[in-house]
């Protein structure tokens, strides 16, 4: 294809996006669009899969059968999200094995929040409330993103996430209405998850890359700082309702802006965790790598069995 032809295609492509048309896997797309989407969707899928681990840590110890079932179902939903995000990713011509390989080698990233340990039961509440809450804020705009399979996956993801978020808040509410110990447990969880949740919305706009391009492709509609402000404004009143305190001495409602002003985020910590040196990065990665390695003989067996069956069918037919 001549440079001009490509240019032409690109213009048509950008115009389609501008008109809010969905791009489908079989459509022509710029290589950078493809790569960016593989990166973002797989990162999202990996986050779902890694995100199963901190919550999975409490399944055997959930305090009641009802909570155990709800937690199992939630973690299962995350596996499901991972599954259809990987599938959406595969429509762009990359295999799931390649995507896993990128995760296991450390080439692909996943959401840093999952590198913090779940220390008490209240963390199941805080993760639902805060982490899923921040995730939704990140993700709702993606329901209208330009790439069709991603947008459709996100519609489903967001619906379930918002159920998880309510469930998490309800865990917090139960704790806050419970004994002194339970309330302390809830407060402690808020203390530990608040700042990492703010970090989930990404580096400050000044440090953020890819933003302009992402805006154009509707992979992003608001800046990180705008999303963060939205999260804070939505969450602080919920904390008030619970009767627990956001661990930020600088937090204050600003009558002028109608928003909360807040304190300095510890970006050193953010980058330490992103770079792989958070409290649980090693544990998370080795859990996934172990699951993958220990699963090899099983995947091999399934494939071998399928082939045998195929041969038997052919033999029978002939």
């Amino acid at each position: 294809m001549s440079e001009k032809e490509v240019k032409n295609l690109e213009e048509i492509f950008e115009a389609r996006i501008a008109r809010d048309e969905k791009i489908e896997p079989k459509d022509w797309m710029p290589e950078k669009y493809r790569q960016t989407h593989i990166r973002q969707m797989s990162q999202h899928a990996h986050s779902e899969i890694i995100g199963m681990l901190p919550e999975g840590n409490w399944i055997t110890r959930a305090p009641s059968l009802r909570r155990k079932a709800a937690l199992l179902a939630k973690v299962q939903d995350e596996a499901g999200h991972g599954l259809y995000l990987y599938s959406a990713c595969e429509t762009l011509g990359i295999s799931r094995d390649e995507l896993y390989e990128q995760l296991h080698s450390g080439k692909a990233k996943y959401s840093s929040i999952f590198n913090y340990p779940t220390v008490t039961w209240a963390d199941m509440g805080a993760i639902g409330w805060l982490v899923d809450g921040a995730a939704i804020i990140n993700q709702v705009p993606l329901c209208n993103t330009s790439f069709g399979p991603y947008a459709r996956a996100m519609v489903r993801v967001c619906k379930e996430e918002s159920f998880h978020q309510r469930q998490g808040y309800e865990i917090m509410l139960t704790l806050c209405r419970g004994s002194e110990e339970q309330k302390a447990m809830a407060q402690d969880a808020l203390n530990r998850w608040w700042w990492p949740s703010l970090m989930m919305l990404g580096p400050t706009d000044a440090e953020s890359i890819h933003t302009e391009q992402s805006m154009k492709w509707k992979l992003k509609r608001k800046s990180n700082d705008e999303l963060r402000q939205q999260f804070i404004d939505q969450t602080v009143p919920q904390a008030d309702l619970l009767g627990i305190t956001v661990p930020d001495l600088d937090l204050k409602f600003n009558e002028e802006t109608g928003s909360y002003d807040f304190g300095e985020i510890n970006w050193d910590e953010f980058w330490q965790v992103v770079k792989g040196h958070g409290p649980c990065n090693k544990e998370r990665m080795s859990a996934r790598v172990n699951a993958w390695n220990n699963g090899e003989w099983i995947r091999d067996a399934a494939m071998e069995h399928a082939e045998k069956n195929e041969k038997r069918k052919v033999a029978k037919a002939s």
């Binding site: 899969i49 681990l53 305090p63 039961w121 419970g178 004994s179 110990e181 699963g295 099983i298 091999d300």
Partner: protein
């Protein structure tokens, strides 16, 4: 004054319910350990599904037990606050997730039993047990298909997977006889026509299970000796560790709402 005969009947029914419920609880717990660590997303989701089904069933049983208990107990009190010797599950379901072959083998050996039990129990004159069984049998029929399919895949897969599946079946086989051992509560409830005479489908069980094994290029073990104890509350040494986790929150923070 409460009628001692009615009390005894309730006591037997109560114990009978636990005999069924504890199996599902402990197996669900074992499966719960795996969540997030399965060999593939698809199996992870499927095993979690089974765990969820079992948990759902077990909650119905415990709720029923709570209803007939004289002591104003909740489902969680019954499920999570007994001492080890009071749990009535069979040894099979408490066996560890040594490797995926064991997970599948344990599930397979339990599912066939479980399905046959539900088949009978759905016709129990006890309406609640019958209702739980009617709902449960659809789920268990899926479990059975899932575990049989995997026994076939692994048995009739690679040389390594065949060896591993056979190893698991050989190790777990000695726990199958206990499924058909009848506790006093089971005998009593069976005599009253409410509970199931499990020994009545023992032969069918071994026949069906053996057929799947043979189809899967696996050898049917020929044990002369079996192990039991769980149904009388004498568990394997694994059980204490299962309970340490299962009961952790209820023991550490007693009498709270969650």
């Amino acid at each position: 004054m409460p009628n001692p005969l009615i009390q005894m009947k309730n006591q037997n029914l109560y114990n009978y319910i636990l005999t069924i419920a504890d199996n599902s609880l402990i197996l669900a717990q074992r499966l719960g350990e795996l969540c997030g660590h399965g060999p593939s997303l698809e199996t992870d989701i499927a095993l979690t599904n089974i765990s969820l089904d079992l948990l759902g069933q077990t909650r119905s049983y415990y709720q029923y037990a709570a209803k007939i208990s004289e002591e104003n107990k909740s489902e969680d009190d019954i499920a999570l606050l007994r001492i080890e010797r009071e749990y009535r599950n069979c040894l099979l379901v408490e066996q560890p997730n040594t490797h995926f072959g064991y997970v599948i083998g344990r599930q397979f050996l339990f599912d066939f039993y479980h399905f046959m039990l539900m088949e009978k129990l759905q016709n129990s004159p006890d309406e609640i047990l019958s209702a739980i069984a009617k709902k449960g049998i659809k789920e268990v029929s899926y479990h059975k298909r899932f575990s049989s399919d995997w026994v076939k895949r692994l048995g009739d897969g690679t040389e390594e997977s065949n060896k591993k599946m056979q190893e698991a079946i050989n190790d777990l086989w000695r726990f199958t006889d206990e499924l058909f051992y009848m506790t006093d509560a089971e005998k009593e409830m069976s005599k009253e026509g409410i509970g199931i005479e499990v020994s009545s489908f023992k032969e069918k069980y071994y026949k069906e299970v053996s057929e799947v094994l043979k189809e899967s290029a696996l050898t049917v073990p020929e044990n002369k000796y079996f192990t039991k104890g769980g149904k009388e509350g004498v568990h394997s040494e694994h059980m204490g560790y299962i309970l340490a986790e299962l009961q952790y929150m209820q023991r550490t923070y007693p009498n709270m709402e969650w």
